[in-house]
Amino acid sequence: MSGASAPANGLEAVRALYDGLVADKRFVETAPLHTDFARGEEVAALLRAECRLLDARRFDDWLSFWEDDALFWVPLDPEAHPGEDQSLLLDDRRRLGERVWRMNDKTAWGIWPPPKITRVLGGVETWTAPGADHEVLVASSLIIHYVRREHAWQTAGHQIHRLRNSGRGWRLCRKILVLPLIQTGVPNLGWLL
């Protein structure tokens, strides 16, 4: 969990990170109704902006919203654990940067010419993250519509964001994207952020 002191051993630190991701997901799955509507609206604005920036391919702007301890996780199964199961991806800040770099690489044949994506955000709920006053956990649902080279595809899922406000406004620390369709077989997802 962020906020706690980092374990000395590297393996334990990695396990703690993974357990933290699972804990975030469990928290929102079992959380009560959110009641802090004012802050919920404030945070929803960032999530809406994230959708808008990604759809507009403003990836560098999007990346600038991320903290240095960024984690972006796309599990293959809603019950998966990032330290025990394979994932579609689990990125730190550096690999997110590579993903953004590749979005504009014209030799990334699978994602260039780029797809046109529409993200539809819904159901935003917010809670103070346990043990971290300046962090919130945000649950939302997402529909992703994809069009590229005469083909359309769409999927839906749930997002869990952990946001931090350390004086510069709300910024992204963690994002978990749970897309049930992944379990049945999906086309090239090299464009997914």
Binding site: V14, Q86, L89, L90, R94, P187
Partner: protein
């Protein structure tokens, strides 16, 4: 009983003899587009290639416990790969012998018995029927062959294969020259212990399954199709395993008989597998942990990534990186690739923690471009008037053939394509005798009639 298909234990040869047609479609240096586009050939592949020879079904580590099962596909058939209470492996057809309902809807699980949700018939883990409601409404129930249909399954060091062929060649003979290469994959894991992680990555592409097969041993595409992956490597000052000059690399491809082949990339990476890896999420922390424990050795880190030996076991298993990639045809122009991650249980925990992140790398930055190429080949093959695809590269131009007829070529050689297509042609040309196995066919009247007839 003139119709042999009425006997549940019959050996049947289905479909036409296509020898002459296939001699035309698969020539020594050309292959016809129809192999990728023809519905009739696809339908026959679902019986003769996926059913008529050994196909990979799963790994024993996935069904380690008694009663555990995974649901897999063999062509169009659903197969329950089961570990019985006695520890045996069984390949049950997921098809109730009453009305044909699939018995099990889950991809994996643990069961004491399988109960059909439609009319409540129940079956033991070895396929024997245990019970059905209102059994008195059948005359001579015991004579009816209601035990579940099964396929032949066999395991080589944990890798389980299945077939409906009535008289398949022994599995080890079928692996043949590929066996030492599979051993190499297994033995690099300490104690030979591989554990396959349950969650798999499933990608689908709009193309024929053989496009992924062609690609697996195609060393040339790595330079061009994966240019973006190699550029990302360069950004991180890392020479990825694919960033090679195809004209000068010392990597080799080999055909291994029965359609199997291998691309051995080791000669081209003197720094060893780990030298080809870029920075990865958690890499620094895990390397520090190995350092702290005095385990930070090149051979330990090499174990975190693949062994740089891409082994293809025709028709459906490709070992690449730490993945067991299974090719599943869904339609003539639609294929699913399922990637199962292998862990090394007796390796330091850091190795397996790294493996979780290592293979995401190519899946993220390499695989999308492969899938794109498969779809674009399929699109291009729609041109009816361009009937032929040249597969001659390397032949009489660098390939060396040994006394067993196996070919060693450079990574641009298309000998692996020619090799598997000959195996494909052999399987597809003539009807293959197939048979559905059952636990107790001898108790059924069909078998007793047969015995009377032969007495």
């Amino acid at each position: 009983m003139d119709d042999p298909s009425l006997r549940p234990d019959s050996v049947i040869r289905r479909g036409p003899d296509l020898s002459a047609e296939l001699d035309h479609l698969v020539q020594s240096d050309l292959v016809h587009r129809g192999l990728y586009t023809d519905q009739g050939l696809f339908d026959l592949e679902m019986e003769r290639v996926f059913g008529g020879t050994w196909c990979y079904l799963g790994h024993e580590s996935e069904i380690a416990e008694p009663g555990s099962f995974v649901r897999r596909r063999l062509g169009r058939r659903q197969i329950l790969l089961v570990r019985t209470g006695e520890g045996e492996l069984r390949g049950l057809l997921n098809r109730c012998t009453h009305r044909g309902t699939t018995l099990v809807g889950e991809d994996r699980g643990c069961a004491k018995r399988f109960v059909c949700p439609y009319h409540g018939w129940s079956f033991a883990l070895d396929g024997r029927i245990l019970g059905l409601p209102l059994s008195a409404s059948y005359d001579k129930l015991y004579e009816r062959p209601f035990d579940l249909g099964q396929i032949e399954v066999a395991s080589y060091r944990g890798f389980v294969f299945g077939t409906l062929a009535a008289d398949p060649m022994p599995l080890e003979g079928w692996l043949g020259a590929a066996k030492p290469w599979l051993d190499e994959h297994i033995d690099r894991h300490p104690g030979g212990a591989i554990r396959v992680v349950p969650t798999s990555i499933k990608f689908e592409f709009r193309g024929n399954w053989k496009l992924s097969w062609d690609n697996a041993a195609d060393g040339l595409h790595a330079t061009f199709a994966h240019r973006s992956y190699n550029l990302i490597g360069k950004e991180a000052k890392t020479e990825t395993v694919l960033a090679r000059n195809p004209a000068t690399t010392t990597m080799v491809s080999r055909t291994l008989g029965h359609g199997h082949c291998v691309v051995d990339q080791r000669p081209g990476i003197p720094g060893g597998p780990w030298s080809t890896m870029r920075p990865l999420p958690t890499r620094d922390a895990l390397e520090a942990s190995l350092e702290e424990r005095g385990l930070h050795r090149p051979e330990t880190l090499d174990l975190a990534t693949g062994n740089m030996i891409n082994l293809s076991l025709f028709p459906n298993l490709i070992l690449v990186g730490n993945q067991l990639m299974v090719v599943e045809p869904l339609a003539v122009d639609r294929t699913r690739l399922t990637f199962y991650l292998a862990l090394a249980d007796h390796a330091p925990d850091e190795v397996n923690a790294l493996r979780l992140r290592v293979d995401e790398d190519f899946i993220s930055f390499g695989t999308p471009d492969d899938l794109e190429m498969f779809e674009r080949v399929q699109e291009g093959l729609a041109v009816v008037e361009e009937e032929w695809i040249d597969i001659s590269r390397g032949d009489n131009a660098g390939d060396q053939i040994d006394a067993n007829g196996r070919v060693v070529g450079d990574i641009a050689s298309e000998a692996p394509i020619r090799g598997y297509l000959q195996a494909w042609k052999k399987l597809m040309a003539k009807p293959i005798p197939t048979k559905v196995r059952r636990s107790r066919i001898e108790a059924a009247k069909f078998a007793r009639q047969g015995k009377r007839a032969s007495a």
